[in-house]
Every structure is written in structure tokens, then in C-alpha cells.
């Protein structure tokens, strides 16, 4: 029996039992579609986060106050516990290191701003002129903070695009005075719309000189120091230089944490990648279940078709031919289910992208390949046992059951 004839015979046998074939195809399709949609979601989330971080630049080193060391209680735990402030002078010292290109201190806090009669709670970021270069921000209007001594508390501010619209509407914002806390600041620039990055929405930010912010919040410590390294390859060396310098300045205690952008990114990438994998695994269970369904349905088919199998044997079909016919039928049903499931899954992912455009919900190639491969493999593997059983049937027994 040649391949074409086997295929046609198996296809007609499958179509001859529409309900059975239909249920099986639906079961496999659901499994494949689940894998495609869920991994599209998981991988979309991963890509979203990775893109967010990449927007910050790959050479970024972040210095934060406090040491998050893990470990048990020891003698040292009782001696020093309060970290020293991370100061503007610390940041200034970093600019002189050879591996460092740009440094900007950051202090962040909430405050109220007032323009005319309008009041609003906003996030205030105190920083320096280097901030735009490191964060890759651009200005829509005016100019950014002046390059001046970081200790000088100039009464100027740069505001985000959304904030500009909310506070000033159609009026010009440049040159206007705003009140932040108890200080009056002149608006010298408006940021171009950029969206989110590192958990801060720059569209709703008020940016002031770092000393001004310290005065507003009455605080000496910095929230972060952002450092852009000169060379990506020397990133870890630069990080060590920074640690050593701060440690030296803080009387031998390493009471800050220095992390690289890469490390943060890699962690998120790993966590969300694992999440995607877990979700794919859960969806794959339904594929496994549908594989067992394939086996059951095919076993029922073999039982139902005892007479036909006996007849085929009497007409001269060898056991191998019988086996191939049933295996082909199982494979055909799996292929049909996998194709339909793939189509539905892609449609589902497309719908997610339409509803949530920020989420790049494309199913990863490995997941699609694994889902299709698993569907076909389960059809084949779970089809083998029923096919063997059909082939092993004694023709006399098969024919005697009417």
C-alpha cells in the first residue's frame, strides 16, 4: 500500500467519525493555542521590562546608599548599622576616576507644586546637567539645568510634558514661576515626552538642581548616583573603582551598594524568562493530556473497527500496513489540531497586542516549535499503542465479531 493511498484511507477513516475526530482536534488545538498565547504573554512582559532597562543605557553603574548584605547576625551587626549619607561630595569625587565618563547625583521625593491656583502632588528629582545625557532625555522647549557647581541651589526647574499640559494648558510655560514646597522656581525647560524608565515617569517629573532639592526636602543624602562608564568592557573594573573610592571616603566601611545596569537587566531577564518557561510548562500539561486523549480515542477506534481490520487482513493487508494506517490517522488528527491551535494562538497573541500595545506579545519561536513538536510527537507516540493493538488483532477474531 503506497503512501498516498494510506493517507487517503486514513483521512477518510478520520472523517468517517466526525464527532470523535472533531473532539480530538479541539483538544490538541486548545493545548497548542494555550502554549502560544501564554508564552506570548510571558515573553512580552520580559521584553517590555528589558526594553525599559535598555533605554537607560548599557554602561550605567548605579550607586545606592546602604548595603544589602545578607548573612547571619555577627559581632559587626551590632557595631555599625546606620549607613553614612551618600553626599554630593561623594558624587563629585567619582567624576575624577579614569573609567568614569559622566556622573549625576539624584535625590527624589514627593512634593506639591502650585501654578496660579492649581495644586498638584508631583515627584521632584534633584539632579545635575549630566542627567539628560545619561538618561537619554531630550527637551521639547527651553534648556535643561545649567552646568554649574552642584552645591549651588539655583531657583530653576524643568518639567515633564504631561505636567506642562496639566499645569499650563495652552499657555506658555517657559519663564513662568512655579512654587515647589516653600520655594519659587522659574521654568526653564520642558522635557520631550519619553515614557517610563527605571520606575519613574519622566513625563510627570519636576527636575530641579540637586542642591535645590536638598533644600526643599531638608536632607543631605542622595537617593542615587548614576555613573556612565567610559567603556562597556571595563564595566566591572569601573564598578570596583567606585566601590573602593566610596569605601575610602566613608572611613573604610563599604556602606553603599554598587550595581551595574547589566546585572539588573540580567536578573529581570532571568526571572521573567523562568516565568515564561513555567507558564509554557503549565500549558504543555494540557498538551500531554490531549496526547492521552489521542490514545484513548484511537483505542476506541480500533475496538470499533475490529471487523474492518479483520477484513483488511483477509484482503491481504500485512500487520505493518494496518499499523501504518492507524498511525497515519492519529498523525493526521494531531497535525490538524496543531495547525488550528497555532492559528488560534497567533490570533490570540495578536488580540493582546491590539488591546495592550505596550506589551510586545509575540510568542517566542522556541515555544511555538516546542508546542507544535509536542503535539505531533504526542499524536505519534500515543498513536503507536493503538496501532500496534490493531496490527496484532487475529483476523479470525476480528471478523467473528459482528
Amino acid at each position: 500500500m503506497n503512501f498516498t493511498d494510506t493517507l487517503r484511507f486514513a483521512a477518510r477513516a478520520a472523517l468517517g467519525h466526525r464527532l470523535r475526530a472533531g473532539l480530538l482536534v479541539v483538544a490538541i488545538a486548545i493545548g497548542v493555542a494555550a502554549v502560544v498565547v501564554l508564552t506570548a504573554l510571558g515573553d512580552g512582559a520580559r521584553r517590555y521590562v528589558v526594553d525599559e532597562f535598555s533605554a537607560l543605557g548599557a554602561n550605567l553603574v548605579i550607586v545606592l546608599p546602604g548595603r544589602n548584605a545578607t548573612g547571619g547576625v555577627n559581632v559587626g551587626s551590632f557595631v555599625t548599622n546606620t549607613p553614612r549619607d551618600l553626599t554630593i561630595d561623594d558624587a563629585a569625587a567619582l567624576t575624577r576616576r579614569p573609567g568614569v565618563r559622566l556622573v549625576t547625583p539624584i535625590i527624589v521625593g514627593n512634593s506639591e507644586i502650585a501654578v496660579g491656583g492649581r495644586l498638584r502632588q508631583v515627584v521632584i528629582a534633584g539632579t545635575s546637567a549630566e542627567f539628560t545625557a545619561i538618561r537619554h532625555l531630550s527637551l521639547a522647549q527651553g534648556r535643561f539645568l545649567p552646568a554649574e557647581d552642584w552645591h549651588r541651589a539655583s531657583a530653576v526647574a524643568v518639567i515633564g510634558a504631561t505636567l506642562r499640559n496639566e499645569m499650563f494648558g495652552n499657555e506658555a510655560a517657559l519663564g513662568r514661576m512655579i512654587r515647589v514646597g516653600d520655594r519659587r522656581l522659574r521654568v526653564i525647560g520642558v522635557l520631550a515626552p519619553a515614557g517610563r524608565g527605571l520606575g519613574m515617569d519622566s513625563d510627570e517629573l519636576v527636575i530641579v538642581p540637586v542642591a535645590t532639592a536638598q533644600a526643599i526636602f531638608n536632607s543631605n543624602t542622595l537617593f542615587r548616583i548614576l555613573v556612565e562608564a567610559r567603556d562597556h568592557d571595563a564595566l566591572s573594573a569601573t564598578r570596583d573603582q567606585i566601590s573602593a573610592l566610596i569605601k575610602n571616603r566613608h572611613g573604610g566601611d563599604l556602606d553603599v551598594t554598587v550595581i551595574t545596569q547589566d546585572a539588573v537587566l540580567a536578573t529581570f531577564d532571568r526571572v521573567l524568562g523562568a516565568l515564561t518557561l513555567a507558564v509554557a510548562g503549565i500549558a504543555a500539561i494540557s498538551l500531554g493530556v490531549s496526547g492521552i486523549l489521542v490514545m484513548n480515542v484511537m483505542l476506541v477506534a480500533v475496538t470499533q473497527r475490529h471487523t474492518e481490520i479483520g477484513l483488511l487482513k483477509a484482503l491481504g493487508a500485512s500487520p505493518r500496513t494496518i499499523e501504518r494506517i492507524f498511525l497515519t490517522e492519529a498523525t493526521l488528527l494531531s497535525v490538524a489540531g496543531a495547525s488550528i491551535g497555532y492559528g488560534c494562538g497567533q490570533l490570540g497573541a495578536c488580540a493582546i497586542r491590539l488591546v495592550k500595545p505596550v506589551l510586545p506579545a509575540w510568542p517566542p519561536t522556541w515555544a511555538v516549535a516546542a508546542a507544535l513538536g509536542m503535539a505531533l510527537a504526542s499524536g505519534l507516540i500515543f498513536g503507536v499503542l493503538p496501532a500496534r493493538r490493531a496490527a496484532a488483532l487475529d483476523p479470525v477474531l476480528a471478523l467473528s465479531r459482528h
Partner: protein, 225 residues
């Protein structure tokens, strides 16, 4: 050399604790072109004998030579090929595949043998013409009468031009008139040269054969005339 030679064939079944001797030491020869009826009460072993002749069953001991070749020792694949090429089956309940048309049912042995579609069509048309059902080629079995179904089954059994035609109660599910038609068709095939072996418990049908093998409790007695 006879077409079929059975030499001391024994076949035993175990039903629960009891042992049934379906065939006891059967020795018989059938020549090419013969018309033989195997007769006997139900349970006498006649169906077992027919299954054995059709290579659907195997003896516990003894030898079966078909066209001079000992077939008892052949592998499953070789036996399947032999069934396909040298043996034609006609069953009491027709055994047509319900989802296939008459022509496709007739073509099944050719499909299993891997005959090219063009040649297949030609031979199916020829075979359907011989049983007088050319205009029913595209009908499915449930659209045909019992007599028509059995004629389709006969066309299928003869399409490979087998050496032996085995019929198990071929008229058992038919009324007297259509039964007679089917018998005439089988006898015409025999006249044309096919070896015909019919299993029946209908004495009228048995009397038409030129030779009768009477089965009783697994023992065979030969009767000619």
C-alpha cells in the same frame, strides 16, 4: 500436484477449562477448478476449516500446501501477501467498508497491493461489469440491496484473480431469489475456471456442488457426485 493439500491437520481451541477439537487429523486434496461444498452442523468445525484454508487461522499440527508450497511456516507478511494474491473471500455479512463507495471497496485489494491508480480504475470497471453493477460504482453500501452488496463483495474477492475463492455462507443473509442469483454468479466464476469452496449448512446449496466435504465433530468425510 493438487491446488490444495491438507496433511494431518489438527486444530484445538481452549474454551475455559474445556478443550474443543475443531479439526482432527484432516487429510484432503482439492484440485484446481473444483467446486466444493463444506457442510455440517454449526460447531462441527467447518468455519475453522475455511479460515485455515484462507490462512486466517493456523493449524496446531500438520501441513497445508497451497499450489505445492508449504504455507504453514510462512511469516505473517508472507501470509498476508498470499491472501491478497491467491485467495478471495466472500463473507456471509458481506463486510464492505461502509464509508467507501462500491468501486472503492472493490479496489481495496489493488490498493493494498500497490497497483497504480490508472490500472486500478480499469480493472475495477471490468470487475463491476462482470457482476452487472457498473452503474452502482459510486454508491455506498448502505445505498445498495443485500444482493447487490454481495455481488460487490464477490467482485472484490475476484479482482486479484485468486487461485481459490472461499465463500462462508454467501447466501445466508439473502432471500431465496437473490441468494440464487449470487449462487449462479459464483458458479459462473467456477465454470470460468476459479476453484470454488463454499461453506454452508443449506443442503440445497450443498447439493449443487460437485463434491461435498461433510464435517462432524472435527472429522471430515468426502462425498462426490
Amino acid at each position: 500436484m493438487s491446488l490444495i493439500e491438507l496433511d494431518a491437520i489438527t486444530r484445538t481451541f481452549t474454551l475455559g477449562a474445556a478443550t474443543v477439537n475443531a479439526l482432527r487429523n484432516i487429510t484432503v486434496a482439492i484440485e484446481a477448478g473444483e467446486y466444493v461444498a463444506i457442510m455440517g452442523a454449526s460447531g462441527s468445525g467447518k468455519s475453522t476449516l475455511l479460515n485455515l484454508l484462507g490462512l486466517l487461522d493456523h493449524p496446531d499440527s500438520g501441513h497445508y500446501r497451497l499450489e505445492g508450497r508449504d504455507v504453514t511456516t510462512l511469516s505473517a507478511d508472507e501470509q498476508a501477501a498470499l491472501r491478497r494474491d491467491r485467495i478471495g473471500f466472500v463473507f456471509q455479512s458481506f463486510h464492505l467498508v461502509p464509508r467507501l463507495t462500491a468501486a472503492e471497496n472493490v479496489a481495496l485489494p489493488l490498493v493494498l497491493a500497490g497497483v497504480a491508480p490508472e490500472l486500478r480504475r480499469q480493472r475495477v470497471a471490468e470487475a463491476l461489469g462482470k457482476v452487472g453493477l457498473s452503474e452502482r460504482a459510486d454508491h455506498r453500501p448502505d445505498e445498495l440491496s443485500g444482493g447487490q452488496r454481495q455481488r460487490i463483495a464477490i467482485a472484490r474477492a475476484t479482482i486479484m484473480r485468486p487461485a481459490v475463492l472461499l465463500a462462508d455462507e454467501p447466501t445466508g443473509n439473502l432471500d431465496r431469489h437473490t441468494g440464487a442469483e449470487v449462487t449462479e454468479l459464483l458458479e459462473a466464476l467456477n465454470t470460468a475456471g476459479a476453484t470454488l469452496i463454499i461453506v454452508t449448512h443449506d443442503p440445497a446449496l450443498g447439493q449443487r456442488a460437485r463434491r461435498r466435504l461433510m464435517m462432524e465433530d472435527g472429522v471430515l468425510s468426502d462425498e462426490r457426485g
